[in-house]
Symmetry: C2
Subunit: 583 residues, 2 copies
Amino acid sequence: MAKYDLDTIRHSTAHLMAHAISRLYKNYNPQFGIGPVIENGFYYDIDMDYKIHDDELVKIEAEMQKIIDEKIVISKKVFTRDENLKFWADKNQPLKVEVVTGIPSDQEISCYEQGDFIDLCRGPHVESTGHLPKFFKLMNTAGAYWKGDSKNKMLQRIYAVSFTTKKQLEDHLHFLEEAKKRDHRKLGKELELFLFDSIAPGSPFFMPKGTIVYNELVSFMRRIYQKYDYTEVITPMMLDTDLWKTSGHYAHYKDDMYMLHVDNREFAMKPMNCPCHMLMYSHFKYSYRDLPMRFADFGRLHRFELAGSLAGLTRVRSFCQDDAHIFIALEGIQEEIKKLLEMFFVCYDHFGFTEINIGLSTRPESKLGSDETWDIAESALKVALDSSGHEYHINAGDGAFYGPKIDIQISDAIGRRHQLGTIQLDFQLPERFDLKFNAHDGTEQRPVVIHRALLGSLERFIGVYLEHVAGVFPFWLAPEQAVIVPISTDKHLGYAKEVCQKMKDLGFRVRLDDRNETMGYKTRQIQTAKIPFMLVIGDREMESHSFSVRAHGEMKSVTLTIDETIKKFTELQAEKVPTKFRI
Amino acid sequence: MAKYDLDTIRHSTAHLMAHAISRLYKNYNPQFGIGPVIENGFYYDIDMDYKIHDDELVKIEAEMQKIIDEKIVISKKVFTRDENLKFWADKNQPLKVEVVTGIPSDQEISCYEQGDFIDLCRGPHVESTGHLPKFFKLMNTAGAYWKGDSKNKMLQRIYAVSFTTKKQLEDHLHFLEEAKKRDHRKLGKELELFLFDSIAPGSPFFMPKGTIVYNELVSFMRRIYQKYDYTEVITPMMLDTDLWKTSGHYAHYKDDMYMLHVDNREFAMKPMNCPCHMLMYSHFKYSYRDLPMRFADFGRLHRFELAGSLAGLTRVRSFCQDDAHIFIALEGIQEEIKKLLEMFFVCYDHFGFTEINIGLSTRPESKLGSDETWDIAESALKVALDSSGHEYHINAGDGAFYGPKIDIQISDAIGRRHQLGTIQLDFQLPERFDLKFNAHDGTEQRPVVIHRALLGSLERFIGVYLEHVAGVFPFWLAPEQAVIVPISTDKHLGYAKEVCQKMKDLGFRVRLDDRNETMGYKTRQIQTAKIPFMLVIGDREMESHSFSVRAHGEMKSVTLTIDETIKKFTELQAEKVPTKFRI
């Protein structure tokens, strides 16, 4: 089968599905729209006097396999446009007629025929249904407007995946299964981390457990900031549009900003922190001794997104970034980028993101700043990247008009890539806000600004990370770190309470489960909640001041004294600081 | 002089000032408006062909003292309205004519005469200028519209303070001096804590140093929350007005909310967190075992305030509260209020607010909930207050229609009272959001909600606290805890850097001052910046691994080894936790 490329196979498999449907549902007047190849497979849009349900898909699959076994020859036919129009009208296929009408009249129009089924198609296709691999699966049905226009009729769309080997199909189905299990929206609900409500579209409500994760992430970044000499600032959220005019956001980003009118003035909710930081810088006089100056800001940002495009934590209207702006002299860039890359890799590694993809985007045709300045900046980024020891690719001409940038993608546990970090040089904002510093030689010079975010949006990071670890947080990040379970709520409860308080006082997030439920029930609940440790107390444990300790995912328990448990927890808690920075 | 009350003395002193002005500025046609008694003194509004400057006030004071020494008899004269109108018209005092015109025609109108000065006045007055104490001071001049109406003419107003003893005057002037020195707007700028910009009225920009204070306060409250079993949540800021209609804010608070229009829906920026917490509660099912449940939220709130009324951090449009809502069964209130009071007093004491004034506001005439429910609630609050050992007063009928409340005021270092905390019972929101819990007996019951804030608005608290401590933060809260100063930047710099890094790694906020400035200059700067410690390193210190340590406000230094310094700092840092909770 290697003679056909994957797209040809998928395209022919789409025809195969349409063929099977035309046989199975011929009494319901099936009218075919289009059936394009998409990532991992294809779909087909169909109009019919009957609604196909998901549980009927296996029947269609079986018919498709039958047609493969029938080894029907597939042949190309070329008609003129007029012949084609008549042909599809005769066959009562108005959607095809519409497609033909949309094709320029001088264009040759081909169709592919396989037995009693014929479809309008540019091709190419396999030569016989017998050549098609059986490694496909019809996934689900969905409604879709004809030509994607909500003014048109709603058709039935069937999604399918299709591969050339059994292993590829199995791997992909396994991947989908994994992705479904890891879906952060599902996990967020099960683990009681956050919720959404239509009262505030795209704006998560973090429940107590989700807030612990959120605050621990902020706290993690603050520790990192301390190591890399960042200072944090707090800035307003509602600012006069004069600011956004100065920054350029009003001209270029207005449609994504939320506007308010107060005191006959127009204000906007900030979609980014940068203009606030520029303004703060401009309030003071700085010298070369003060630079680089690094303003970090966890301020809440608001950006308009279409209601239909909102998706869990990964696309929201309200979020915070681990955002910072660095004010720096042009000649300091290389050293700073080197530090930044180190900082980024230390953190990504800490979260278990070891597969990293780096892109350097260079000057576009239309740009601000002289070629000389761009030479210095691009070369500084390259040298810093080279010395980081990480591979990177160059996206020539893909930089913003205001400066070159480095984008960093990570791969998660099931191989999906996510853009997290970005390092963006900016020659423009310092111009627009007329920022200056007193240089070594006494002259006034213009600083460069570096925008950088490491985790990116905290909301999105929580979504990505939750899927990466499938809801199993490391000890330091787990909302609940351990549950203490007395075997008898009569005999062991008092002691369990005492020990629980002791662990709480030491700063561990420990809960006592004193309900009158069976040990099996409690164990299952603790496992489902993915809590790192279950600490059971019975007679023997009370006597020996110990716990029967069961780690998440383990089938067996070990006995540890309370002091040993505290020691273990203390070590695990220390992991909140990257190894590099532990004292 | 005890025969006259303070108001009479102040009123007569106002006449005395007018008398002095009529003598000193007689060539400028002085026309007198009104001169009422105000807190601590009086003012007088005058129209004149000459503008009195602040540096002329001493001259007026001297003339007033002279008139006292002249011991002029003050006598009351009663005229009819018509006589009065003619009298003031003849004297070319049109403002007095206007005042008389405004008095009902059947009313007796008195004037008080002292030598060549006469003023329209209801009295009473002292009998002779010789009876007046000389313990007054003219403070400043200001412009004021006649009758407070901007359509009228602008007059000159002179403010004065006046007391019966020298000590009272001196104490008051000292208080004013202190208040001026402590003005948080002035300190905020000098200590580089925060700034304001007209681009975002009433919305502070916290600079790096102010942000440290801000974050340490949040961190302080989080430690307290951990001790008292609070959980934190994060909620959206922009919510559909449907929510505000359910909560009642739309009907009662709309004018103070910022509205936005998105997707043909109306949204409001949250002015309070409560409706978000009600909504979150309503998403789950809770039982009596889960209560009390305490949701804390440091979410940013926005409330409209008139641009003219904005004042530093104490009246802003954008702020966060240490806000929490407690969901609780009615019978649990007393125990919870007791815990709350303990928590409040532990914290206030920690900030050095030991003079506390508590008010309990009880049911108003128009109220929600049965008398029986109010009986239980009010009695629970009283019993809890009684057992707290603190005195309190009852504001009968001053409770909100939705529940009784406790308001807590503190007195600052110069005796000014500020309301910080509030504990507010609410029977209404649980109704409006139809909140329930499964009670012990299996029935569904309605929880009560307690709104409480301890520090109140963090912005306002920082303003109040900054004035309380006059900018001298305790070690744990100080943005910079110590500055290391090498005596010679040649000989001692390397070592100073090393030691500085060591202290930083231990988590102390230490800075190295390696500038080429004199020791005297650096010392003065460190003192002005109110930094707790200056650590000097010279030959002797390098040799003995020690610092010459000078604490803020001390004139002398002591020598401490580096280890002793670290020990001292560690002890001081531990003070961030109230004594009660230190392990």
